[in-house]
Amino acid sequence: MASSESFNILIAGVGGQGVLTLSRIIGEASLASGLNVLVAETHGLSQRGGAVVVHVRIGDVDSPLVPLGEADLMIGLELLEVIRNIGYMRRGGFIVADRLIIPPSILDVKTPSLDNVIEALRGLDVRLTVIPASEVAEKLGDVRVANVYLLGQAISITKLGSIIGFDGVVKVLRGLPNPELNLKAFKLGYMGGGFEC
């Protein structure tokens, strides 16, 4: 990417889904590509099953937070959290999200249906890809690799692919615990497949 460019990513999900891990993978891969990167994490109280959002900014950036209306890409590990953070999206930006709704664990709240949420997202000026990431991940043996499955898809269809590169991510994944499973999920995500496995 040119020295004056930047790429803003928002990763949204629920505490425990691997939001932080995913942000670190992207951060490491950016560093390995010699790019400046800022990863603003959420810790503490916000992690106990609550909403989690991490801001990742790559390139010519100083501020740790993505400005509202300027995310180029949102990786959504859960769809209600995608909706919650929709104000961060740039018009025409990419959303790559799991086809998943986790109802909040509190009593007396009404959770919108999967169809309603997807329909609402489709009505917006964004490029939306909703794929059954956790379903595939579960079939692969660990629901927690849904995050790298989504990353694979994001790498394949957005500019992130040319920024941090497929191989760059592969190198980072090799350093994780359980690299085989992570690599498998990432590659399946990249191809956008695996529903049949």
């Binding site: 909706i83 909040p104 009593l107 919108p112």
Partner: protein, 630 residues
């Protein structure tokens, strides 16, 4: 590298000999990283102290004995440590004393938004405030050097977006630590009796002027951009980062001043940058501390440069800085047009998703059981709450945190309530770490001044919310070494509580029975303490993994389930959801195998799906007799 880790790195590079702290978001990783380093290197000495006041004194004691030391805490922790903090400015130190305070603007994990730079102003302790992770390393090093040079404590003010932002950081070589010190007796310096303190105050003001001169020449304060612009933007700490990017986006040719040492005001440096300009915009995280100080300075020297910032309403006085807000403020001062993008809005609104007690959290079982005991006795109780994971019981269905103020406040407030509520029972709920931190004096007070109450100590063996740091009840210390365990029940009995019960947290029947007895004791005018003990489920699960102990998962026998919804509505485990046919289902991915739902199901409809390893129950602190349905 995380900003907090960059600070820890700087401490090692400088050669710090001692580090102490009390965990609190967003500060915890500083001491965690140092403790990790100590476990590998064999130095420095690192501890999690019982609270911030003691942590401060630990580092202070080492620093007056000639060992460079650091103490780390979250912003509100400095309130607890304020007493020695103020005194340390009077005595000064013999070797560096770096006080690290991580503020939490936006209150991501805190009860308030206090700006601890005021403490620097108030106590005559200089404040260094880095803009990002790389700067955090440099600022910490510079603060340690300054502290050593002037022999005066220095406060390093971090904020969430510096502490918890990962960024590339270039580091230097590790320094040689100074681990052994010498205490030189000098009563006229170390004894703050009024006669000495009066003289020391004169010396302090003298030293303050010297520090002001030093920070005015600090290389950490720099300026960039045209020297002749009529507007100057001053970015303090992380404010500089927002201002820099905002100016770039606006393509504005404006002088930008980066301030890393806001307190005391680096007057000469600032005057050099501000004199002759029309106006100044101050971008700072937190309160308008710097903005206020500049205004005072300008008044003193008779300049009428306009100063804008939070007091003028150009920036919001609440919450974190945001790039778009800073951009708007700069555009406003420059008279540029600035339009925010129209934000996308979805027609569907997401329901709130507050953090909740984890599936398998022992505290869920405890709150379920205590509420049953309260109901059985027909009591109308007040739950005086506290700070920790159990704070999450503020939500339905538990509603078991009527107050939630500060560390240790549960027991303290319960004292006052007990005296004035005319016999209405007060239950103070407090976690183990918080009990050691600041709960004990309140308990002693209750015994001494006869304030009947039930104190419910939720004991999961660690400081869980902030990342499982050890405390005096854990049996191990920050560096992973074995430590003497100080059980809560010994403390309670030791301070004169006659009615002490220890219950198995994962066994609701046990908790309920003991809570019943304890509540009856309170009715007789006693102070009772119930310790509900069971490990944090996250710790138990990782131990089970490490020791190859298999965990059970639970299933619902739908022929037995009558849809009473006790497990869903009263117990409210996130792994349990209504199945649509009026019954319930258990989410296998979320179920931790704690087995409490089996124990509370009135119809024996919940059963383990597999053979259960006896060692799993031992891990959860359950005796065999307590396991089983019913």
């Amino acid at each position: 590298m995380l900003g907090n880790v960059a600070v820890a790195r700087a401490c090692l590079e400088y050669g710090v000999g001692l580090a102490s702290g009390y965990p609190g978001t967003p500060s915890s990783e500083v001491v965690e990283a140092l403790a990790y380093a100590a476990s590998k290197l064999g130095y420095p000495y690192v501890e999690w102290s019982v609270n911030e006041k003691v942590a401060f004194e630990v580092a202070y004691g080492a620093a007056i004995s000639g060992v460079p030391s650091v103490v780390s805490m979250k912003h509100v922790g400095l309130n607890v440590a304020a007493d020695p903090f103020f005194s340390s400015a009077y005595t000064g130190v013999e070797a560096s004393l770096l006080v690290i305070s991580a503020d939490d603007p936006g209150m991501w994990s805190s009860q308030n938004e206090q700006d601890n730079r005021w403490y620097g102003v108030h106590a005559y302790i200089p404040v260094v405030e880095p803009a990002g992770a790389q700067e955090a390393r440099e600022a910490a090093l510079e603060a340690l050097r300054l502290s050593g040079e002037v022999r005066h404590p220095v406060l390093l003010r971090l904020v969430t977006r510096v502490s918890h932002t990962r960024a590339p950081v270039t580091v230097g070589a590790l320094g040689r630590p100074r681990l052994r010190g010498v205490f030189k007796s000098n009563p006229s310096r170390w004894n703050l009796i009024p006669a000495h303190a009066r003289r020391l105050r004169e010396e302090l003001l003298e030293r303050w002027r010297r520090i002001e001169d030093l920070v005015s020449r600090s290389e950490l304060n720099v300026a960039e951009g045209p020297r002749d612009s009529q507007v100057v933007v001053i970015g303090v700490g992380v404010g500089y980062r927002y201002a820099r990017e905002a100016l770039r986006r606006l393509k504005a040719q404006v002088r930008l001043v980066k301030v890393t040492t806001p307190v005391p005001l680096p007057s000469k440096f600032i005057l050099g940058e501000v004199e002759g300009r029309d106006s100044v915009l101050v971008v700072e995280e937190g309160d308008p501390v710097f903005e206020t100080m500049i205004k005072t300075l300008l008044q003193e020297v008779g300049l009428n440069t306009r100063v804008y910032g939070k007091r003028s309403g150009h920036l919001r006085a609440t919450g974190e800085l945001r790039l778009e807000d800073v951009e708007g403020a700069i555009a406003q001062v420059l008279g540029l047009g600035y339009r925010r993008p129209e934000l996308l809005e979805a027609t569907v609104k997401p329901p709130p998703r507050p953090p909740v007690l984890c599936p398998g959290c022992p505290y869920r079982s405890v709150f379920y059981a205590v509420r049953r005991a309260v109901k059985r006795l027909g009591l109308d109780v007040v739950y005086s709450g506290d700070i920790g994971c159990y704070s999450l019981a503020v939500n339905k269905p538990f509603n078991a945190q009527d107050t939630l103020i500060e560390m240790g406040g549960s027991v303290g407030l319960a004292n006052g309530m007990s005296h004035v509520l005319g016999g209405r029972v007060v239950i103070a709920t407090i976690g183990d770490s918080t009990f050691y931190h600041a709960g004990i004096p309140g308990l002693i007070n209750a015994v001494y001044n006869k304030a009947p109450m039930m104190v419910l100590v939720l004991d999961n063996g660690v400081t869980a919310m902030t990342g499982h740091q050890p405390h005096p009840g854990s049996g191990f210390n920050a560096m992973g070494g074995e430590a003497r365990r100080i059980p809560v029940e010994d403390v309670a009995r030791g301070v004169g509580v006659d009615s002490v019960y220890v219950a198995e947290a994962f066994n609701p029947r046990d908790v309920e029975a003991k809570a019943l007895s304890a509540l009856r004791d309170v009715g007789e005018g006693k102070i009772s303490v119930v310790i509900a003990r069971g490990p944090c489920i996250l710790m138990a699960m990782s131990r089970a993994r490490a020791e190859s102990i298999s965990r059970p998962s639970y299933v619902v026998d739908s022929s037995r389930c009558r849809g009473c919804m006790v497990c869903y509505k009263a117990f409210n485990c996130p792994a349990i959801t209504p199945s649509g046919d009026g019954k319930i289902t258990i989410n296998k991915a979320l179920c931790t195998g704690c087995g409490v739902c089996e124990r509370i199901c009135p119809f024996n409809a919940i059963k383990p799906a597999s053979y259960i390893d006896e060692r799993w129950w031992n891990l959860l602190g359950l005796t065999t007799s307590s396991v089983g349905g019913g």
